[in-house]
C-alpha cells in the first residue's frame, strides 16, 4: 500500500492509503513541505505493508463506497472511479477543532485544504469534516473516447463485464446500449445513429457496479477569437494622475478548429442563450437595495435586522450621525434601537469639528442620558455599555458592522442614519470577509484618528 499523510503543526490531519498501483513496494519515502503562516504543513508518501490498514484502531465506524469521477473528494478526479473505505474518527485534530468549540481560522483552513488538494487530489472544501479521518482508495479506471463517426471506443475489457452506454442530448436519453463482454476484448466500438452531445457509462463485473461516469462530452470544435494587443491610448489627466492608458479595441480574427455545429443548431443555441440571459437578468440580488425618499421602511428592515442579530460586537460608523437639525430625532431613534440590541459591545464612531453643527462625544452622552427610553433601557441592562468615539476627521461612507464569535457581517449605507428618509441611496450587504476587512481597517485607522472616547452606561 502507498500511504499519504498530511501533518500540520505536528499533528496528522489526514491519512490516505492507495491500493492497486504497479510497483507500490518501490515507492520511496518522500516529503513536501510548506508553511502556512509560519506553521509547517508536510505531505509524506511512503510504502507500508497491508497490515497497517488492518490494524488501524480508534475509528467510530467505516463506510465503503464507489466514488464517481465527478465526486470532489475522489483523489483520482475525472481519471477513474475510486473504491473507497472511509474510517471516521469523531475526535478531530485539535489544530482543526478544539473541545471548547473554537475552530481553525478560515484563511488557515483554506490554505490547508489547498495543500491537501495539491498533493492528495482530494478536494475537501465541501467536506472539511473529513479532516482527521483515514481513507483507503483503489482506482477503477477505464479508457474510452469518441471518434469522428460518433461511436465510442472502449479498451481492455475483460470477459464477464457488462457495459451500458446512454447516448444523450442534454438530459434526455436518446438511445441506450447494453453489451456483455464474453471474451477479453482489447478494443470495442459501440456505434449509434443518434445525434448525441453527451453520454453516460456504467460498467459491471459479476453484477457489481465497478465504474460509472455521467454527462461525458467531447470537444469537437474550438472557436478562437484572436486579436493582437495594440498600442495603448494615453489620456492626459490633470488631478487624478498624470495620464491613464487603456487598451484600444482591435479587430478580432476568428478561426475555427474542428467541425463546427450546423448553422441552424448554432443559431438556436445562441437564441436560447439570449433568452435565458433575459430571464436571469430579472433575478433580484439580495445583497443590494436601492432606497428612494419615503421608503424608510425598506431601510429600517435591513438595518434593524442587523442590529438585533448582533451578539458580541456592534459598530455603527457614521461621521455625520450627530449632525444637528432635523436629523437629531432620527439619531435618537437609532440609539434607542441600538441600546436594545443584544450585542455585549456597542460602539458608535462619529465626527464633530463644530459643536454648533454637531454633537461632540460628551454632548452625545448627555443627550442619551436625557432620553427616557435610552435611560430606562440602560437601567434595565445594567452591564451594557456604549462606547462613543469622536474622530479627528470624517469617513465618507456609512457602515453598520456586527461580530458574532469569529463571524462578521454588516451593511454599507449610502447616506447618514439621520437622513434615511430623505435621500436616494443604496444599501449593500457586506459578507464576512468584506465586513471584517472594513472593520479591521477602520480599527487601525482609529488608533491615530480617535479624538475622544466616552462611555455611556447606567449610573447608580
Amino acid at each position: 500500500m502507498i500511504k499519504n499523510t498530511i501533518t500540520y503543526k505536528n499533528k496528522i490531519i489526514l491519512t490516505l492509503y492507495h491500493q492497486g498501483f504497479p510497483n507500490e513496494n518501490l515507492t520511496l519515502k518522500r516529503y513536501r513541505k510548506d508553511l502556512i503562516r509560519k506553521n509547517r504543513i508536510i505531505f509524506t508518501e511512503e510504502y507500508v505493508p497491508d497490515d497497517e490498514w488492518n490494524n488501524l484502531a480508534g475509528y467510530a465506524w467505516e463506510e465503503s463506497a464507489l466514488l464517481t469521477p465527478k465526486e470532489k473528494y475522489n483523489p483520482y478526479s475525472d481519471k477513474a472511479c475510486a473504491n473507497m473505505v472511509h474510517r471516521i474518527y469523531p475526535n478531530k485534530p485539535s489544530v482543526i477543532w478544539k473541545r471548547d468549540g473554537t475552530t481553525i481560522a478560515e484563511d488557515d483552513l483554506e490554505a490547508i485544504l489547498a495543500f491537501i488538494q495539491k498533493y492528495t487530489g482530494m478536494n475537501l472544501k465541501e467536506q472539511p469534516v473529513f479532516l482527521g479521518d483515514v481513507f483507503l482508495f483503489s482506482p477503477s479506471e477505464f479508457e474510452y473516447h469518441s471518434n469522428e463517426e460518433n461511436s465510442i471506443i472502449f479498451y481492455k475489457l475483460k470477459a464477464g463485464m457488462k457495459i451500458i452506454v446512454h447516448f444523450k442530448n442534454h438530459y434526455n436519453i436518446l438511445q441506450s446500449k447494453i453489451i456483455d463482454i464474453t471474451t477479453d476484448t482489447a478494443e470495442l466500438e459501440i456505434t449509434t445513429d443518434c445525434n448525441w452531445d453527451n453520454h453516460d457509462v456504467e460498467i459491471y463485473e459479476n453484477n457489481s457496479l465497478i465504474y460509472i461516469n455521467k454527462d461525458i462530452s467531447y470537444i469537437r470544435c474550438i472557436n478562437l477569437n484572436l486579436s493582437i494587443a495594440g498600442r495603448k491610448k494615453r489620456i492626459p489627466l490633470t488631478a487624478l494622475q498624470e495620464y491613464y492608458e487603456f487598451e484600444q479595441q482591435q479587430a478580432f480574427k476568428k478561426s475555427i478548429i474542428g467541425t463546427p455545429p450546423k448553422q441552424v443548431q448554432e443559431s438556436l443555441n445562441e437564441l436560447n442563450r439570449i433568452l435565458v440571459r433575459k430571464i436571469n437578468n430579472l433575478k433580484i440580488s439580495d445583497d443590494f437595495v436601492f432606497v428612494q425618499p419615503g421608503e424608510l421602511s425598506i431601510a429600517m428592515k435591513k438595518i434593524t435586522d442587523i442590529i438585533f442579530r448582533a451578539i458580541d460586537e456592534l459598530w455603527l460608523i457614521d461621521s455625520y450621525f450627530t449632525d444637528k437639525g432635523n436629523g437629531l430625532q432620527q439619531m435618537t431613534d437609532w440609539l434607542r434601537l441600538i441600546v436594545n440590541s443584544n450585542a455585549t459591545n456597542k460602539n458608535i464612531i462619529f465626527y464633530c469639528n463644530n459643536e454648533d453643527k454637531a454633537l461632540n462625544a460628551k454632548q452625545l452622552k448627555n443627550h442619551m442620558k436625557n432620553d427616557p427610553i435610552i435611560r430606562d433601557t440602560l437601567k434595565a441592562k445594567q452591564t451594557d455599555r456604549i462606547q462613543l468615539f469622536q474622530t479627528k476627521s470624517a469617513i465618507h461612507d456609512r457602515f453598520l458592522i456586527i461580530r458574532n464569535n469569529d463571524e462578521y457581517s454588516g451593511l454599507s449605507i449610502g447616506t447618514s442614519f439621520n437622513s434615511l428618509n430623505s435621500n436616494h441611496y443604496c444599501i449593500h450587504v457586506l459578507a464576512h470577509k468584506d465586513a471584517k476587512e472594513v472593520l479591521e481597517t477602520l480599527y487601525a485607522w482609529m488608533k491615530t484618528n480617535a479624538l475622544t472616547r466616552e462611555e455611556c452606561k447606567h449610573d447608580n
Binding site: H18, F21, P22, N23, T27, Y76, K79, T120, G121, E141
Partner: protein
C-alpha cells in the same frame, strides 16, 4: 521670427501622435521661407533670447525645418556652418541627450538590462533601436553635427544618456564609424552597453573576415569571394589592430567582451580562444561562466566547454596550467540547470546531441558527479502512476524534468562505455 514663433514650433513638435497638426502649425510659422532665411532670422533673434534658451531655440528651429522637409539636411548643415551655429547645435544636443532638462529631453527606456550579454542585444535589435519616424529629425540634427565637427559629435555620442546615438551608429543609421579614440574610450570608460558598442566596432573587421570565410566555403567560385590567403592576411592585420584597442580594457572587461562575442557569434578567431584562456583571465572567465547569467542554454555551454577543451591555459611564462577550475565552472552551470530547472526545457534529439558534445570534452570525474546529482534529483520527482492520477499538474512538470534527467543520464552512461 519672434519668441512666440519658437514657442509655437516647440508646441507643434510635441504633438507627436498627430503628425497632421504638427505639420500645419509648423507651416503656419515658417511659411514658404527657405532654410537659409529661417536660420538667418533666428540668428537675428538670438540676442533677444535668454542665454539658456538660445541653443534650445536653435534646435527647435532645426527640428521644425527637418520636420517640414527632411531633404534639407545638407543645405541646413551648410548654412549652420556659415553662420557659425554648429557650437550652438552641439550645446543644444548635449542638453537634449543628457536627459537632465525636464522639458527638453528624449525619454527612452531600453531593454538592454534584460540581456546579460549586451552584444546579443546589439545584434538582435540592430537597426530597431527607436521608431525611426519618431526620432528621424533629431537623428538628422545629430548627423549635421557629425558632418560638421566629428570630435564634438563623438563627445556627444559618448555623453548621450539615452545611448540612442551609439546604438544607431551600430546599425549605420548615422553613416558614421567611430574613431579609435572613441572606441578606446567606450571600451575603457563606458558602461557595459557602451563597452559592447565599442567592442562591436573594434571587432567589426574581424567579423567581416568571418563572413568572408563563410562566403569562401559556400561560394568558392564567386568573383566576389576572397581567397583564403587574402582573408588570412586581412585577419592577421585586423587582429593586430583589434589587439591594440582591446588591450586597453581591464581583465574583467576583456573576459566579458570576448565571452559575449564568442557566445553571440559562435565563430571566432583562434586568437580569441588563446587570449580568453590566458591564466590572467581565468578568474574572470569563471565568473563569466558561473555568475554572469550569460549561459542560458546547453548550446552556449557547449561552446564554452569546447573553448576550454580546445585551447591551452598558460601562465605568463608560457607554462601550461590545469583547467580543473574551468571544468568545475561548467559543471556548476550544468548543476544549476538541473536544480533550478532552467537552461534545458525539454529533452529531444538536438538537446541530446549538444549534451553529448559537452560530455565528449568533459573529464569523467565531473560527469560522474553530475550523474549522481541527476540520480538523486530523479528519485525525488513525482512521476509514478499514482502521481499521474492524483497530482497531475505536479506530474506534468516533474515528468518533463524526469525526461531531461533520464536523457542526460543515458548520454553520460553511453559516454562511459565508449
Amino acid at each position: 521670427m519672434t519668441t512666440d514663433d519658437i514657442k509655437n514650433l516647440a508646441e507643434a513638435l510635441q504633438y507627436g501622435e498627430n503628425a497632421k497638426d504638427s505639420k500645419a502649425q509648423i507651416n503656419k510659422v515658417l511659411g514658404n521661407k527657405s532654410c537659409v532665411t529661417i536660420i538667418k532670422e533666428f540668428k537675428n533673434l538670438m540676442p533677444e533670447l535668454q542665454n539658456k534658451n538660445r541653443n534650445k531655440g536653435l534646435l527647435i528651429v532645426i527640428l521644425s525645418i527637418l520636420y517640414k522637409n527632411i531633404g534639407l539636411m545638407h543645405k541646413l548643415q551648410k548654412v549652420l556652418t556659415i553662420e557659425g551655429l554648429i557650437p550652438n547645435l552641439y550645446g543644444a544636443l548635449c542638453i537634449f541627450f543628457s536627459g537632465k532638462n525636464s522639458t527638453f529631453h528624449l525619454e527612452v527606456n531600453l531593454t538592454d538590462s534584460q540581456f546579460p550579454n549586451r552584444y546579443d542585444y546589439l545584434t538582435r535589435f540592430s537597426g530597431q533601436f527607436a521608431e525611426q519616424q519618431k526620432i528621424q529629425e533629431i537623428l538628422y540634427a545629430v548627423k549635421i553635427l557629425a558632418m560638421s565637427d566629428k570630435a564634438k559629435f563623438e563627445e556627444l555620442a559618448f555623453k548621450d544618456n539615452t545611448r540612442l546615438i551609439l546604438l544607431n551608429m551600430t546599425s549605420f543609421q548615422l553613416n558614421e564609424f567611430p574613431s579609435d579614440t572613441l572606441i578606446r574610450r567606450l571600451l575603457r570608460n563606458g558602461d557595459e552597453l557602451q563597452a559592447n558598442i565599442g567592442f562591436y566596432f573594434a571587432v567589426w573587421d574581424i567579423t567581416t573576415d568571418g563572413h568572408d570565410y563563410t562566403q569562401l566555403r559556400l561560394n568558392p567560385n564567386s568573383p566576389y569571394t576572397k581567397t583564403k590567403r587574402q582573408i588570412n592576411k586581412n585577419l592577421k592585420c585586423h587582429l593586430e589592430t583589434f589587439y591594440n584597442l582591446y588591450n586597453c580594457c581591464s581583465t574583467e572587461r576583456k573576459a566579458s567582451l570576448l565571452v559575449n562575442y564568442i557566445l553571440s557569434e559562435r565563430k571566432y578567431p583562434r586568437a580569441f580562444g588563446y587570449w580568453l584562456m590566458e591564466s590572467t583571465l581565468q578568474e574572470a572567465l569563471i565568473f563569466e561562466i558561473t555568475e554572469s547569467n550569460k549561459i542560458t542554454n546547453l548550446d552556449k555551454l557547449c561552446t564554452i566547454a569546447h573553448l576550454i577543451h580546445d585551447f591551452p591555459c598558460k601562465d605568463n611564462n608560457g607554462v601550461r596550467i590545469k583547467k580543473d577550475k574551468l571544468y568545475v565552472a561548467v559543471l556548476i552551470v550544468l548543476k544549476s540547470f538541473i536544480l533550478e530547472k532552467k537552461g534545458i526545457y525539454s529533452w529531444d534529439t538536438s538537446q541530446e546531441t549538444v549534451f553529448r558534445n559537452i560530455c565528449k570534452v568533459m573529464p569523467q570525474r565531473y560527469l560522474k558527479q553530475l550523474y549522481k546529482l541527476l540520480e538523486k534529483e530523479s528519485k525525488n520527482l513525482m512521476v509514478s502512476k499514482l502521481d499521474e492520477m492524483v497530482r497531475f499538474s505536479i506530474y506534468l512538470k516533474d515528468k518533463k524534468h524526469w525526461d531531461i534527467c533520464q536523457g542526460m543520464m543515458g548520454v553520460i552512461n553511453s559516454h562511459k562505455t565508449k
